[in-house]
Symmetry: C2
Subunit: 417 residues, 2 copies
């Protein structure tokens, strides 16, 4: 079963917002065996919307539209759909009651534009949007399903999860798609491919292997499509085992989890706590961990010590250490990590200190120089990394390297005990 996503709105095309909705929809649709054939971002123009709708229906059976449903003039999705399906707009009473209640709750008056939000093309199925005022509309047209949803992420997500996906599942007999990820580090894409060439060659046509390189890691993804879920899982598991056996020392994870979530789960299972002492990553690693519910069981907190004064005051880094070796040094990184373990009373701590750029580099320590230390109550180990010149990329790479260094240390320590 193929679907297409059409996102409507100039704000995506001029780059004012990044389209995160489509990625989320892709993940959720894949879980129920719907493959996204194309994602199309277009402007708020009637003609362009009609053309995109026509093109999408040539390729896919389910067309999911987001955006362009606001109460203001630049939003034309609803009027365009009304014309496209030849269904005049009429007030939907259930939606009107819902919109009225919404404004009552906020204690705000309704204006003409808000009442218009309750209008829908006469003939579509209205799907109640509990999280907002713009109704979701489900059309059936020449055996195709076209759904129009608001672009506000939490409205769209609720509608997809609770309403649209269950309705799609009911309507079609869907094949299963099983994805298996293998996260690797330490070997480039082409070298990995060479190592497992014969395994890849032997994959049946319904199983695809993709290489997704990112920041010093390569994620391998096996995707199997078919109707017998158990058989697919068995097949994919078998190929995964073969690949993992072949490239074992480069494999970090085979669960489909963000790396930081896998670390939290792993440390939680072993009742270990973590704190952070971040300098150049500026809170990014803390943010990665604390995005995930349940992080607080493992992650106790940390500090972002941008200034040297704070490195001394909060982490107890020695003034002499900073004077003799500088803020970006093995010694400072190690003292930061030990300071975090001791002051924040955790089992492990990561410290990161470096030059993210674009300024602040020297001949000795160019932009991209980063020291990362991992400490536990007995020991600390620091490692030097040399990244590139882009600030955000350096922050991301340092975060990834810090998590890898911690993870490897954890595995070593647990093996030793």
């Amino acid at each position: 079963m193929l679907a297409e996503i059409i996102t409507i709105g100039d704000e995506i095309l001029i780059g004012q917002i990044v389209d995160t909705n489509s990625a989320w929809m892709g993940v959720e649709l894949n879980k129920v065996g719907v493959k996204v054939k194309q994602i199309t971002s277009i402007s708020d123009e009637a003609e362009h919307i009609e053309q995109a709708l026509n093109d999408a229906q040539k390729r896919a059976d389910i067309i999911l539209i987001t955006g362009g449903l606001g109460p203001t003039k630049d939003d034309v999705t609803k009027t365009t759909l009304s014309k496209y399906f030849n269904m005049p707009l009429k007030i939907d009473e259930v939606t009107l009651t819902h919109v009225k209640a919404f404004f009552d709750k906020l204690n705000r008056p309704m204006i003409e534009a808000n009442i218009k939000q309750a209008e829908v093309p006469d003939g579509c199925t209205v799907v109640m949007n509990k999280n907002g005022t713009a109704p979701c509309m489900w059309f059936e047209h020449n055996d195709k399903i076209i759904v129009s949803m608001p672009g506000v992420p939490f409205e769209m997500k609720y509608l997809m999860s609770d309403e649209i996906i269950p309705r799609i599942q009911k309507r079609f007999k869907l094949p299963f798609i099983i994805h298996q990820n293998i996260l690797t580090a330490g070997l480039g894409e082409s070298f990995l491919a060479e190592q497992i060439a014969d395994i890849e060659e032997a994959l049946p046509s319904h199983i695809k292997l993709a290489y997704l390189p990112k920041l010093g890691q390569v994620r391998l993804r096996l995707s199997a499509t078919g109707y017998d879920e158990t058989a697919l899982v068995t097949e994919v598991t078998s190929f995964t085992e073969k690949i993992v056996a072949r490239i074992e020392k480069f494999v970090i994870l085979t669960e489909d989890l963000p790396f930081e979530k896998a670390i939290i789960d792993f440390m939680g299972k072993h009742s270990l706590t973590l704190s952070l002492a971040e300098s150049c990553t500026g809170g990014y690693i803390s943010h990665l961990f604390t995005q995930h519910p349940g992080a607080s069981l493992v992650f106790q907190g940390g500090t972002v010590t941008y200034s040297n004064a704070l490195k001394q005051a909060v982490l107890g880094v020695g003034e002499q250490t900073l004077l003799n070796f500088g803020a970006v040094s093995e010694q400072t990184a190690s003292e930061m990590a030990l300071g975090a373990v001791n002051n924040f009373k955790t089992d492990y701590a990561i410290a990161v200190t470096g030059i993210a750029g674009p300024d602040g580099g020297s001949e000795d320590k160019p932009v991209g120089t980063v020291w990362i230390a991992v400490a536990n109550k007995r020991d600390v180990k620091a490692k030097l990394y040399k990244f590139a010149s882009q600030r955000l990329q350096n922050i991301e790479r340092a975060a990834m390297a810090a998590m890898m260094q911690l993870f490897i240390q954890l595995k070593e320590d647990l093996k030793a005990t």
Copy 2:
């Protein structure tokens, strides 16, 4: 001048990665007067690539393709372009030398797949990719320009900025597009529209007004297209002034900057320093500030105190305060902010403590309850916010609210002095 972006790769369609490239390209193209008509994400399939290329050329003059240029089997962009333009692949000697040097520098051997990276369709213009091994290819076809670039963000960005955009500018006489943003808070989209309806009505056809709501804010965007840059700026400035005068108390910013960057610039101009005491936002606010070069002039650092123990140890929050009022309270937020100002020796501090969810709520303090305090050396003010049930959304909303609270406080304090 219209352009279209085609991103190639299953990883976007299954949602494994979010397409941030296209948004960045949209911003950069707009700056030189190129409007992105459509962004299309498609799979690594020859037929689909050909079809997308045909469709795009019906609408636009410049087609920018990213992705699908890796050395592995799932990447078919180059062979497809070779067939599409009827240009057989041949080794490009300059690229081969570059790829060899690249591997020499990394001290790694080259394999067959790496040598193939130096192949290009015979007849395209090869644009050197200094940041990677996949060459960038520029095609001219029936008066259209088609460019194929790698999807790795820092390779694509360098190629666009240093090579592709300058070549596009040389090639076409481009109109200017002037964007002016007005960031507002405190008034919903439809109410804003009602307030400025007559101004919007009076806009000439070459100036568009868009409403971009996000997390309690609405960004208004005026976009003017034409060939006389000075006249456009004058016109847009005049309409901006009219709008700002009408809705003055809801306007936060008229610069086209991320909010956090505007705060850094503003505090820097007044030689003020900032520290943070984050609980439920978990380092996210620190990350927002430290993304930007030069943040260290204002932002000294901070702490992420997830546990109560750390709130006491690092920020000096009273044990009795936590016992009597709880971690999520006006008192705790205030003591956290004052603790940060005192311990981290900054002019201002923000403290955020709340329940991000999905767990941890109570009848008294449901998920989404957040206290935010802003302190300076003389005073502290705390405010209660009630957000919703989604963890990531609560983190983002709290960060935005914290920055707004700080910004309003700064403006008040500076007016008073």
